[in-house]
């Protein structure tokens, strides 16, 4: 049984202000995105008090408003939530707030709040309209690109930097140049790629077909080549992650944020909470039952950690991580595959490789390695023959 001291420290608190999303992406994993419930001030206060009273807060952490479109609620709601957060935070550690948004509802009032409270913003955008609108649609089937672009422009007008998350589908893999142009044209300097995953209600992925890995590697390689050749810097999360992993090989005994109990705390708008991969909240498995382990109004961390079904799940996840380290040469660098992907793809947490691993971890790592080697080789050439190069120029 993991002791409270063996859980956490809390790195990411994901709070669902509402399950509702104003758009209807074809690959969305949220099961309840038509539901317009909202978190109450009472539940929010219980959430913050639960987190700070749990013993999990032992370092600064991020509060991410997500799992529904957070900007469906007005900025004034988050202003009040911020005041509440500050009141409840008796830890002495800083809490950084972050929004993952489709940006379609960003207004000047939102921008004022974001700037004033120094909130981090991530925009979900899948590239130019012909790619974005294939999957990121309204409930009537229309595209959402124009409104997302308006939101991004409004953020820029207010001097707000943001990063983007782009979901790669089979459609996207033929268009690295077009994606690169889109980011440059719209002054996006920090990009992340997710792959279309098999999770929850999204039971099939366009990427789960023969030949995807090769296409993905070619896509990612070309995109990185464009980034590395560009005049303006562009951060690519997956490249940075790979570089960091090379520098910090992980001990097999260590578990990643997603596989360590309560490093992530996910709370839905009714106060139900889970941990591990955020996608698990609100879902259940035939063998595991609900992945919500308690409610912030009534269940203490200590009680949850002592529950047999939590102990069984934690053991299953631990065995999965151990098997990753036993069987996968990438494990020392990724720390073991995300439990959510293992469950949704393999039906069991005590398993290893998934499509998500092959694309988002292995391929990005391999490709990044070739770019680093090429960069290093180029630097060595220049250092070895500066006069020759100068003469050639």
């Amino acid at each position: 049984m993991p002791a409270v001291s063996g859980s956490g420290p809390l790195e990411l608190l994901v709070v669902q202000p509402t399950p509702f999303c104003n758009i209807d992406c074809s690959y969305c994993y949220l099961p309840d995105r038509r539901n317009t419930r909202k978190i109450t001030a009472e539940i929010l206060e219980q959430t913050f008090k639960w987190a700070f009273g749990s013993g999990l807060v032992r370092e600064p952490f991020t509060l991410l408003w997500h799992a529904g479109e957070p900007t469906v609620l007005p900025a004034s709601f988050y202003e009040a939530a911020t005041v509440l957060l500050e009141r409840c935070n008796d830890s002495g550690f800083e809490v950084t707030q972050s929004f993952q948004t489709n940006a379609t509802l960003i207004t000047d009032a939102w921008c004022d709040f974001i700037k004033r409270r120094n909130v981090h913003v991530g925009v979900s955008v899948d590239g130019p309209a012909f790619l974005h609108d294939r999957h990121r649609k309204t409930r009537r089937g229309g595209g959402t690109f124009e409104k997302t672009l308006q939101g991004m422009r409004r953020l820029h007008e207010h001097g707000i930097d943001f990063n983007t998350i782009t979901v790669l589908t089979a459609d996207s893999l033929g268009y690295p140049d077009e994606l690169f142009d889109f980011f440059v044209e719209n002054r996006v300097t920090s990009v992340s790629f997710n792959v279309e995953e098999i999770e929850g209600p999204n039971v099939a992925s366009s990427l789960a077909v023969s030949g995807t890995e090769e296409r993905f590697r070619r896509f990612y390689s070309r995109f990185l080549d464009l980034v590395l050749a560009a005049d303006q810097p562009m951060e690519v999360r997956e490249f940075n992650t790979a570089r960091s992993a090379l520098a910090h090989r992980l001990d097999p005994g260590l578990r990643t944020q997603e596989s360590r109990p309560f490093a992530i705390l996910n709370v839905d708008c009714e106060g139900n909470f889970s941990t591990y991969s955020p996608e698990l909240l609100g879902l259940s498995g035939p063998r595991h039952g609900s992945f919500a382990f308690g409610n912030v109004a009534r269940d203490s961390l200590k009680a949850v950690l002592a529950e047999p079904r939590f102990i069984a799940l934690d053991d299953e996840i631990r065995r999965g991580v151990e098997r990753c380290h036993e069987t996968c040469s990438y494990a020392p660098f990724c720390g073991g595959g995300p439990p959510g992907n293992k469950f949704f793809e393999n039906g069991d947490f005590a398993t290893t490789e998934t499509m998500s691993c092959r694309l988002h971890k292995q391929a990005t790592f391999d490709v990044a390695l070739t770019k680093l080697e090429r960069l290093a080789a180029a630097e060595e050439r220049i250092a070895a023959a500066p006069e020759g190069l100068a003469a050639a120029q």
């Binding site: 033929g174 140049d177 077009e178 690169f180 142009d181 440059v184 044209e185």
Partner: protein, 184 residues
């Protein structure tokens, strides 16, 4: 012989065929009717029997003009490197130029002629559309767009009306030339 027109796989072009194609009429040229479009345009790309339209990314068009600027200013414009980047881009898009193909930078003045012999593709780097001419049908190739051409159905390249045409011609190399002659 009229080609089947199509957008190459892995490319997205804005605008419809009715804005790109012109058909011969008794008093000049006009936009095609729906039935004519259906006859001219292939629903899916047919790699060996089509005039395949494609478009270059903005960063590559910018690189082209930067290269010309460097050439004009200091004589250092590197067309060979640019041509290799263009070849790599088209290869990534599953539209690889023939192995021994030759890339030519062409500027066609008003009244000037372009030899279409051996053409595999043309890329329009000018601001104005490039007009390709087949018997009874013409194709506007917009700025930044290119057209892979069926070597058995070569078009004429219309002389520009005002501004010079600026284009890169990709021609089949000697090996392909010989093969074509043998086939014909």
């Amino acid at each position: 012989m009229k080609p089947a027109f199509a957008i190459a796989s892995n490319f997205h072009l804005d605008g419809g065929w009715e804005d790109r194609l012109l058909v011969a009429a008794s008093d000049g040229w006009r936009a095609p009717r729906e039935d004519e479009l259906a006859a001219l345009v292939a629903e899916a790309p047919r790699p060996h029997a089509a005039a395949l339209l494609f478009v270059l990314p903005a960063h590559m068009r910018e690189r082209f003009w930067a290269m010309l600027g460097e050439q004009a200013a200091e004589g250092t414009g590197d067309f060979v490197t640019f041509a290799e980047e263009l070849r790599e881009f088209l290869a990534f898009k599953a539209l690889p130029p023939p192995a021994e193909s030759v890339f030519d930078l062409l500027v066609q003045d008003v009244g000037g002629m372009v030899d279409a012999a051996g053409l595999w593709a043309l890329v329009n780097f000018g601001d104005e559309p490039l007009l390709l001419d087949w018997p009874g049908v013409r194709l506007r190739v917009g700025s930044g767009e290119g057209c892979r051409i069926d070597p058995h159905c070569l078009p004429g390249i219309m002389t520009p009306a005002e501004e010079p045409n600026v284009m890169v011609a990709i021609r089949q190399g000697p090996a392909e030339d010989r093969a074509d002659k043998l086939q014909s």
